[in-house]
Amino acid sequence: MSCWETIADYALRSQGIGERLLPRTDFTLCQQFTLIGSGMIWNIYFGVVALCSGFFLATAVAMGKAARNPWFRKPAEWFIFIFRGSPLFIQFFFAYFVFLSLKDVSSFFNPLTSAWAGALVVLFLNTAAYSGEIFYGALQSIPKGDTEAADAYGLSGWSRFRRVIWPTMLRLAWPAYTNEAIFLFHATTLVFFSGFPATQQRGDALYYANYFADKTFNPFVPYPILAGYFIILTLIVIGLFGLINNRLNRHLPQDVRKKVKVRPQIIR
């Protein structure tokens, strides 16, 4: 079987399209590359959707934590503490079993027991908490002059937030938020190792890498392939976020702009 046939058979295997049986004997490099790459679809899906939706909740949580009113502040603080203070792995397990018992209550909750929705909810809340903390930190370090200038221009309420506070907050938080995005993508690999089942062996990249490592007793091929894919993904994320960073900082001279710098990672 040539490599093109393998790609045709397995490229969309993680979505359940193509050959049903996974390879069992005579594993080729091509098969490993194709299947692990196919699994990356899930990692990208979880990462992108959780990041885009979590962004809005994160802004709200950060505003809540910075609020003076304890009715807003306390829930935001607890939300951040619970999701940042406990391991994501346990959160996945807990959420899965909560969703399982909700399933008995109403069939409305059925989709939540499968990974595409249930794990997404957990990742959404988790990234909202982590980025909320980052945004809160940025909110605290907005230069006093900026808000005073907004007051002097007579801006207040929504337009003050929309035109001054929010853009400045994003600009200050962006380097840290880039890191958060990278490690959210890394965290997506935990999904199929917690409670969420990979129905019909439709798993993510690590699921397939682990499959190959188990079958061949050779971790030295599948895991480096996985690492390669993730390094490429990381570089793409850094590139995209760097473009946004340039746009957010476009009014500043080149040498005062904060560079996006990848720091070693944060396990959740």
């Binding site: 018992s101 993508f185 890498a209 993730f230 990848v262």
Partner: protein, 294 residues
């Protein structure tokens, strides 16, 4: 456990619960909490040692040593940590067996890798096939500790490398002016001073380490996640004296609370340590302390 536990079916409410929570299997789960604490107690110093070695290597004058140190630090970037965990456990196991194989069976002529199999002679198996169960468990646990130490050592190396560079240049120049050799400067000036700069990073790392402990489950150790799944599952009256429906949700809720409390306690303790260490230091935090006292 208690004397009234002889007939669980007749018990109700609180007494039933107190009997249920002290069955032999629950005791194993409480022991597993001990395993987690033991892992933390062994891993933290080991990882620190790895990190120290890595950071010292990364700023060495010898080029190959520097490359090794820098690669070790850089390798943790860009790759999901859980992949490391899964990779190292198999890789280390095979490496140990291969080394023992070369020493113990020099006249073995078949290749070690035969297609999909990894075959070493029986004398080189780790642990030996006839070893008792606890040896297998301890070996698995030690592999896990080593894996944790390697991965977290890389993070610690990065923190310490940054801390070594944060020590003011003037301090090192003064040491040189006193005629200290490179080695003396390193041990007598740089190392004692770097800890203040390293502590925020290291305490952050400690939090991360706490949160990484459930990954023991993936390494095949019977830890609290294993027991929560095992004990929480629905139990039929035929097989146990304490039948109950699927309670895994509550077991994981308990784990969640356990980790939250652990994090909170660590936060408070590390905050105290930090304020002790910054006391009297010429840093922004030390300055703030002085002002607050005045």
């Amino acid at each position: 456990m208690f004397s009234f536990c002889t007939d669980p079916a007749a018990l109700e409410g609180f007494r039933w619960l107190s009997c249920y929570l002290t069955t032999g299997k629950h005791m194993s789960m409480y022991w597993a909490v001990g395993t987690v604490l033991l892992l933390l107690a062994i891993t933290a110093p080991t990882a620190l040692a790895f990190g120290f070695a890595g950071a010292s290597a990364a700023r060495s004058n010898v080029a190959p040593l520097r490359w090794i140190g820098k690669t070790y630090i850089a390798v943790v970037r860009g790759i999901p940590d859980i992949a490391f965990f899964l990779f190292f456990v198999i890789a280390l196991d095979q490496a140990f067996e291969y080394i023992r194989h070369r020493i113990k069976c020099p006249d073995w002529d078949e290749p070690v890798r035969q297609g999909n199999d990894f075959i070493v002679c029986t004398a080189a198996k780790l642990p030996l096939g006839n070893a008792p169960q606890w040896v297998h468990e301890t070996y698995g646990f030690l592999l896990a500790v080593l894996t944790f130490a390697i991965v977290f050592g890389a993070f610690a190396a990065n923190v310490l490398f940054g801390a070594m560079r944060a020590v003011p240049r003037g301090q090192l120049e003064t040491a040189e002016a006193y005629g200290m050799s490179r080695r003396q400067t390193f041990w007598r000036v740089l190392v004692p001073q770097m800890w203040v700069y390293a502590l925020p990073g290291l305490s952050n790392l400690w939090m991360v380490l706490i949160k990484a402990t459930p990954l023991l489950f993936l390494l095949g150790v019977e830890d609290i996640v294993y027991w929560a799944r095992e004990l929480g599952g629905a139990k039929q009256p035929q097989f146990t004296e304490y039948p109950h429906p699927d309670w895994r949700m509550w077991y994981f809720a308990a784990l969640l609370v356990f980790y939250l409390c652990f994090t909170k306690v660590s936060e408070v303790v590390l905050g105290r340590v930090m304020s002790k260490l910054t006391h009297g230091q010429a840093t922004a935090a030390g300055e703030a302390q002085r002002k607050a006292a005045a």
